[in-house]
Symmetry: C2
Subunit: 328 residues, 2 copies
């Protein structure tokens, strides 16, 4: 690795001058500047970011922590975070925490030790106490865990209401709900919205609510049990699209016709829902907007750490496709 001192020597100037050229800061004569630039070129000099970070305490690095990289929702979310970070000159990296608090904390520690400038986390396991120990600007995305952390999420409760109401409106009489993990705040919000709509109906029993984990495998098992035990179910609201797709497959295996015998609604609005047969009716979150707002708010916070923490809640939208019966 060539260093700034070698460049300085080659250009016949001091390291300060080279640094001034590099950072376009302070006075440098045109002629000297050219000589330095030439030396940089000749030696293929690339400044060492580690040394720069050490002095500045900044790294121009932003990381996004997601609980399950294999769930397509998160790559889609990552795309938008990435775009905003790049546009602002930050290097963006993605980390998978596997829904494990241990991995989450280990990433946060490792990244902090690398002077990461800011973190965006999608987490069900972090608590207020944890975040108070984190000295790096942080934004919570998709889930809430502390009022003291800037949060970007969608209106989960409203979305769940939309879903349940729509199922009712197309004539479903027995509606079930597969939830995400109880630890996730959006699971609880979506459940609330669902209950808002069905709680007072005669037919409603708590058996109709089963717990999934936002992934396909667990959801398929839970839904299989559910449908076998309660064949009267004619509507299903899944906590996310991946589980809804799982429901589609389960229905197929059990010879339950979708949407004729069973209407299914997912949540998220990921591309996957357009590739299934039937395509998936879903409560779409503004994925790109969520990611980009989170990134924008994080960068604001990096630039001014004293900025007020706030929660932004974005609207959701019901997208009707083929997995629900036609309205009439």
């Amino acid at each position: 690795m060539t260093t700034i001192r070698e460049v300085a020597k080659r250009a016949g100037v001091s390291v300060a001058t080279v640094s001034r050229v590099l950072n376009k800061k302070g006075y440098v004569s045109q002629e000297t500047k050219e000589r330095v630039l030439l030396a940089i070129e000749d030696l293929k000099y690339k400044p060492n970011d580690v040394a720069r970070s050490l002095f500045k305490g900044k790294s121009k690095l932003i990381a996004l922590l997601v609980p399950d990289i294999v769930n397509p929702f998160f790559p889609e979310l990552a795309r938008s975070v990435e775009d905003v970070c790049n546009a602002h000159g930050y290097t963006f990296v993605l980390c998978n925490t596997d829904n494990s608090m241990e991995k989450e904390l280990s990433y946060i520690t490792a990244l902090q030790q690398k002077s990461v400038d800011g973190l965006i986390v999608v987490s069900s396991t972090l608590t207020k106490e944890h975040t108070e120990e984190i000295k790096v600007p942080i934004v919570s995305l998709d889930r809430t865990f502390s009022a003291n952390v800037t949060t970007v999420k969608s209106n989960n409760r409203q979305g769940a209401k939309l879903a349940a109401e729509y199922l009712k409106s197309i004539g479903c009489k027995r509606i079930a709900h597969v939830t995400g993990p109880e630890s996730a705040s959006n699971t609880r919000e979506r459940l609330k919205g669902f209950l808002d709509v069905v709680r007072n109906d005669d037919w409603f029993i708590s058996d109709y609510i089963v717990t999934g984990n936002y992934n396909m495998l667990v959801a398929k098992e839970a839904i299989t049990d559910l449908l076998l035990k309660h064949p009267e179910i004619d509507g299903l609201f899944a906590g996310n699209d991946v589980m809804a797709v799982g429901a589609l497959k389960v229905a197929e295996q059990l010879n339950v016709r979708v949407p004729d015998d069973l209407s299914i609604i997912g949540f998220d609005g990921i591309t996957l829902g357009e590739t299934t047969t039937p395509t998936l009716t879903t409560v779409a979150q503004p994925i790109y907007k969520m990611g980009s707002r989170a990134a924008e708010l994080l960068i604001e916070q990096i630039n001014d750490p004293s900025i007020l923490k706030k929660t932004e809640e974005l609207p959701v939208e019901l997208i009707v496709r083929q997995s629900t019966r036609k309205k009439r």
Copy 2:
């Protein structure tokens, strides 16, 4: 941020002693060690990795660059790379290059400047010349671009042969192929394998080969054109699963029945192929193995940079599901 000097002061020892305790290296008496550990605890001291990296020129960081994070193949690949990296004490991050040489080079530069210990890249745009300028250990995954870079890939040509032969064996008489981008080495290899099988057949015309881009959108357009122009096609080998799923959707739109009118085979073996209706027949790559071998070879190379570069080619396997006609 507490520094090692504050810890030293608090424990009444020198920074060298604290460093020795931290790194479990050199002589430290039991009694001193305990005092230092206590001071670390009290001050919640976390060593600054940036300073450590600066001195050592190492960062315990490994990055994986993928061309399209939204293609589920890459998150699945990333999972295995991550596991191996974590098991060896490395922090693992994922970067999306969007198939753009510019983004790729910009990530590589940024990561090198951060003293990344090693890179795994899935790239169609890097050349031998580029890699010669990269001084960090590097492993190419899924695609080849220089004999001088350790590479882990699957047997693409053999896989394509399997696919084409299988389509023939179930009675397909007009078989088409949607390829990936021409710049990707695996596109060319898969095309070769396909041609190995069909080149000498009377029916074969070059019109049956259309270019996709490994993503759904481009593939759907290309396949729509193809099927409209050549309704006689009864077999389709897609260069990857995502495009095969696109083909499934196109067939549905055009009222072409799969598999009765058209048999479709994908390539990759991602989970997505199990969620479609019909489920996807595919040439499965050993995704987990590919990622983990790449990570292992990279770590070997980090530990011994003089190690010989080599290419590992892993076997593929045809998985027959519902998108192809039954053999009889």
